[in-house]
Symmetry: C2
DNA sequence: CTGAAAGCGCTTACAG
DNA sequence: CTGAAAGCGCTTACAG
């Protein structure tokens, strides 16, 4: 920076003003030109650490996801990154493995890095972290994670509509004996989808659907839950899974039990994660716009940085994607 | 920091020394105790921007991948993150979409953020970026990306052994008419696997295997390439794909052409990405230890930071995973 | 073992 | 419109 100022024949304060779009108006056009030319010439890149020290802004945001390796999150993260990049921000992404302690440790580490805000895509319903962050005046956007009080902006897919459309679809095919392999109730998504399922089933007058809670949003948990359903009595004719991984587990167990999907049992997943259209049968599922979710979360956070009171909730539409894992029940 | 020093009744220089493990030996044990207690009491987190400004180290590393949404990379990134986290470093991850310009822009942006080094997991064979980085004295580790001159440490899976084991497997099953759907030749992996394929096929005395280059490591490119192979003449009895996505595309086209896999055509993928065991048929493929690759790359970079001359190459073993997409040729 | 002080590279009120 | 100067929060030679 000193070098640039020297080369342009101005004071470094002036050079700083010339290079910053927000202040370059206070400098003569000729000077701006000269400084910019000198900067380019010298290959000048500003030292963000110094800027951040001075302005108390790092142009950096922390993103917490349960596990980057879960196919849901890469599109979310890319959506976030793209929007942030366009605004000169960078994302620091960390995985929490749905472990409250690790989540807190990562949060603290990001705080130490002077992030300007957070996007929390972890789904634990307990949120001492969220409350503490609010008390400390942090800026946070919640992704797919409801809170009781509207402390922060929230962006989520329309899970209720998604589950309802799945149940509508199955009822429309003539199914009456449904089961729901619910996501874990300690996650807000697990609980919400369960509620929507129950409500929709009742609405169609479907008697006593079987509901089993999975230990996690995993294939193994799906297998275990499906096994419990089959052990409990005569199999349902249709299953709504808490997400696609659970659906995949259910598929394994159905196949092992000699039940054909969809001839014997129809199956609906949730999320439309990559490659579920390649399964056999290709999975009917509820599509959630993950990338758009990430983009919207990033935008909301940027807005929140300017308006510390902003708490609006953005709900993005979901769509039922009918493929070949659902069919009318056997006559 | 001043507050901590005040609370502990020492000068802030002393407080700084007490809090830093590297210098706490130069401070009396009692003082360290008092300072640490005060820091905890006040919930002190050091300002990394200030530290970084002073020490010229950000404890941050830039990671460039082609596309986080490609299932290969999440495990790589997690491996990197875990090792870095253990050493007090944070990863800044950016996607380049295999676009040279975007890659350069992201590189520059990360440089502006004062990263201490880079892990480049992008596979373009042209590497003006790599040479420039070396000339500028940057610290870089190359992941799955060869260079001609050993400028930096490299970590990669043993592609040659992987491809060879695939060809051995097919030859052992009795196949003689092979095809290779090669990855793009502008990627080092594409070229290397092609060479290994050719060499292995010759070694088994297999006459004139068909080789087609794909436009990218994508399903669509795999479809297109497989179509070209079928158009060119009588179908091969076995296909080695440049990666799993290409294999998936090939599978689509085989199916559409009424050819059964593996009865009519055997198929081998590369990478063993998540869920290829759920395809039908479950894909025989070469497993690459992606997470370990990421971990090793992070370790190499940390080592390189201490030793600017380090250029060793680490090759991690690959394994053929035989599933149901390969079988003996029709008699 | 500890204090006093300089300085990392910026930004930004304050003068002029 | 531009210069001179202070200061962001640390670290680290330099004294003592």
């Amino acid at each position: 920076m000193s070098d640039v100022a020297l080369a342009a024949g101005v004071h470094k304060g002036t050079a700083s003003r010339a290079l910053n779009p927000a202040t370059s108006g206070r400098v003569s056009a000729a000077t701006v030109r000269r400084v910019v030319a000198a900067a380019r010439q010298l290959g000048y890149t500003p030292n963000t650490a110094a800027r951040s020290l001075r302005t108390n802004r790092s142009f950096t945001v922390g993103v917490l996801v349960p596990d980057l390796t879960n196919p849901l999150f890469p599109p979310v993260v890319r959506g976030i990154e793209n929007v942030l990049f366009d605004h000169g921000y960078t994302a620091l992404v960390a995985s929490t493995d749905n472990d409250g302690e690790r989540e807190a440790a990562q949060f603290a580490a990001l705080l130490g890095r002077q992030v300007d805000g957070f996007i929390l895509a972890t789904g634990l319903r307990t949120h001492p972290l969220v409350e503490a962050a609010h008390a400390d005046g942090r800026h946070v956007v919640l992704l797919n994670r409801a809170t009781d009080a509207p402390l922060f902006p929230v962006v989520a897919g329309d899970d209720a509509a998604g589950v309802t459309s799945a149940v509508d679809h199955l009822a429309g095919l003539g199914h009456t004996r449904l089961a729901h392999l619910a996501g874990p109730s300690r996650m807000s998504t697990g609980l919400n989808r369960l509620r929507s399922f129950t409500f929709a089933a009742e609405h169609h007058g479907l008697a006593d659907p079987v509901v089993v809670e999975c230990a996690g949003y995993t294939v193994a948990a799906g297998e275990e839950a499906m096994r419990r359903v089959l052990d409990a009595g005569p199999p349902p004719t249709a299953v709504v899974a808490g997400n696609d991984l659970i659906a995949l587990g259910a598929l394994h167990v159905l196949r092992a039990a000699g039940l054909d999907c969809p001839a014997d049992v129809s199956l609906v997943g949730f999320n439309d994660m990559q490659f579920v259209d390649e399964l056999s049968p290709p999975l009917t599922t509820v599509r959630v716009p993950h990338r758009a979710l990430g983009e919207e979360a990033a935008r909301l956070l940027l807005d929140r940085l300017d308006d510390p009171e902003l708490t609006k909730t953005v709900v993005l539409p979901t769509t039922l994607v009918v493929r070949e894992s659902t069919a009318p029940p056997r006559a």
